[in-house]
Amino acid sequence: MSVRRFWQRRRRDEDLTREIESYIAHEADLQASKGFSAEDAAWAAQRKLGNKTAVRERVWEMNSLAFVESVWQDLRYAVRMMRMNPGFFAVATVSLALGIGANTAIFQLLDAVRMRMLPVENPQQLVELKIADNKHCCSGNFSDRRPNFTFAQWEQIRAHQQAFSSIFAWGDDQFNLTQSGEAHLAHGLWVTGNYFKTLGVTPLLGRLIESGDDVRGCGTPGTVISYPFWQGHFGGDSAVVGKTLQLDGHPVEVMGVTPASFFGVEVGRNFDIVLPVCAEPLFGGEESHTNHRTHWWLAAIGRLKPGWTIARAAAQVKSISPAVFETTVPEIYRVDDAKYYREYKLTALPASTGISSLRTDYETPLFLLLGITGLVLLIACANLANLTLARASVREREMAVRLAIGAGRGRLIRQLLSESFLLTACGSILGVLVAEALSRYMVAFLTTGENPIFLSLTPDWRLLGFTAAVAILTCLLFGLTPAFRATRTAPAGVMKSAGRGITASRERFSLRRLLVVGQVALSLVLLAASLLFVRSLRNLTTLDAGLRQEGLLVMGIDISRLQYTAERRAAVYQNLLEQVRATPGVDTAATVSVLPLSGNSWNDMFEIPGIVSKDHRLAWFNSISAGYFHTIETPLIAGRDFDQHDTRAATPAAIVNQEFCRKFLSSASPLGKEVRLLTGPGEPESRYQIVGLVKNAKYQFLREDTKPVIFIAENQRPAPAQGIRLLVRSRESFGSLSAGLKRAAEKVDPQMSIQFVPFKTQVEDSLLRDRLMATLSSFFGFLAAALATVGLYGVISYMVARRRSEIGIRMALGASRSNVLRLVLNEAAVLLSAGLIVGTVLALSSGKAAETLLFGLKPTDPLTIAMAVSLLACVALLASFFPALRAARTEPMAALREE
């Protein structure tokens, strides 16, 4: 009702004006009829009516929403103020945009990775099944990103569980789309038949995998493809259903396409194709996961029955644990492993937000970054508060006049806050754009060829709420205090003084000094943090890993679909290695089963006959060809490398590293000693004679503590794997080299699937998290330092301006320019050192949060903090030097005349 009136008030006012004129005309007629002259009649009519404008105003007010009206007024006034100070407006908007944008971006990623519900039907009913944490879990062959269960376990779980109305399992895998030559990999999922039905996904085209498709021995019933794959690989062809895809050389028909919003249950990932679990034996061949009780490759999620809680489900699955594990003990487990295995317990965990490896890797960094960006925003707020305070003192008289002529204090505060609000609004709008760019940059940053990140970054209510809350908080933070202060003036006092005293009043100034101290302190914390991350990254990249990373090319070979027997495989690898070594440009080459620094590992228990020990000994293994150490340039210290005599007919040989000697042989010479692997029932015994000793090198990760490693000869392995990696050292560019290597592989078998990646790239990809932290924290650290410097510059300049007359008097009384310079610089130094001291304390006490992310230095590293302190001190002193110089150049006469 009143809103309608509000919009009609202009029309109504016109109506009223005509009505009043009509009244006056009638009254004038009346007066005229009484005999007055026309002029007198008109006047009398006016008098009779009273104040025409007042009447209109009263009706206008009745029609307006008083609050909206005054807010609108305030905003228009604020816009005028901003137009008058474009410099202030620009600085404020940009710093707010960066602050709010950075916070929003980081929150957006946290939201996407951690908080968002899966875009499926009733996600809150989804529960993941796992084996409860225990220190003996688990041993075997782990082959995907979430190897929670073996196929045998899954069958038992499905048979015994009662908590879920339906339950599905899935595993991930990669499939080669090309027939020969360089591999083109598709990211695939193995899913059980009720996967899509449980998640409530409906097909975009065709149909999805159903329970009827997933029966043992199904061969290849068909594949479901994702929306992006449909768009990318098939160009969005609407007749895609029924077309055939070559997956690892098997022709598979496309059954259907999933909708664009569906990316599976793993947050941060998308898939290209989905195959039913029953097709796995066909693709896996003799190494099929389905048929091996030691192959862990499935994860399971169920939908709770109505009325069931997660706790009740957890209790139920725990109670079926004996039934699941008693019946599925792997045949080749040793007695002790089998005992531990039978004691495993199942548990249930909420899965409404899906599962994610990103979550474990990036949760701490993202929270840390959110803290960092929060501090940046706080510094920006302090800066703006400072600028606003400075402006407030300029507008002191304006405020005093307004108060004196009867403006309420609340009204003035509201008006000043609308200026802050306007700034925040502009900053937030720009900030959303900054956030968009930044979060996309971060996702692109973390995406590698091996590991494509897929995150849904569309804004949701949580993100909008966060941004709004941050913006409002920001606005209050930098607007409220200055507004309160500005309106606290006693009008009489301000009006009486000429507007400026001889010296600046201390009281108002101290808040601004405090703000600068705070800014310096916080930016020191951020600067120190960024230096920590940068130095940690430097430690990692310059670390001596025990091998030379440059000039090494990794050539991955997959022959799993070529159906070679174990004997043939060994011969093929040997042949391939010789062809590669003969390729022009190749200096040295060797094969390796566990690529160093790739995150893969292979460990096992062993014993050294003749040396008694209570515990089982655990060592890491690698299977290599002769020439491996020469290729990676790890020096052999004693004994010999493998050679052509180490065949399956000869005694198995082993080479160990120094750490192995130190840990298990008390640094005695290992040559001639024997190593025996502990084996389960039915496994052939493995004994190795140590023939060589090499220098330590990193095995799995750059960050690891050096591990004891046993190298065995690839040529002596009874059953070589279905794929192998060659390390090739060359001084040529990898581009030209890979063409030659491709030809070499074609000579061995033209159907071989090949992948190339520079060794260095792979190592760098493993440092993405460190690089992200170093890059972003430096950016924010230097942004913070710049903001604090601007703040200090502002306060010192302001102080110089306020004390201009005082400085004039001092100089008139004989103070030299250097005296004045020192006076101002002293002021700056006091603020700076107070800030630096507080900042150092804060940095030392808050460093703990970053501890787990750092490599090779403590969060309280004194050198880092010293570097941050001196960097900030230099920049800040430089910034205050200019106002000091201005003060020293004051002409005393000019300064005094102004008074």
């Binding site: 009136r5 009505e19 009638h26 007629d29 009516l49 009273g50 025409k52 009745m62």
Partner: protein, 117 residues
């Protein structure tokens, strides 16, 4: 920038009295502002002096409450004028106000009692 309080509408007259007088006036026949002002002045024997301008906010308010409706017409002087007429809701309101007023008068009379000389 203070705002006038809305309760001052109706000048010095008792709250709601002006509304009642307007409603009674237009209840007889549709009338325009000038007529209403003079009618109130005359029927109240010029006891209730109204500044004629203050009539308009009151008219505006009554129209907003749906108690009266307006239309532009031609007056007896052959001039354009905005006429007001009472609505059914206005009639009902007038009736209840009238009885309320009567009750009030009775109550006040009872309190004051017969005049004591």
């Amino acid at each position: 920038m203070g705002r006038r309080k809305a309760s001052s509408e109706g000048g010095e007259m008792l709250q709601g009295t002006l509304d009642m007088l307007i409603l009674r006036t237009v209840a007889l026949a549709p009338a325009h502002g000038h007529t209403i002002a003079h009618a109130i002045e005359q029927t109240s024997d010029e006891v209730l002096q109204v500044e004629h301008g203050s009539l308009y906010p009151a008219l505006h308010r009554l129209e907003d409450r749906g108690l009266i409706a307006s239309f532009w017409g031609t007056s007896e002087n052959n001039r354009r004028a905005k006429y007001y007429r009472i609505t059914p809701a206005g009639k009902k309101h007038l009736a209840s106000e009238r009885s309320r007023w009567n009750d009030l008068v009775l109550a006040v009379a009872r309190v004051l009692g017969p005049a004591v000389e």
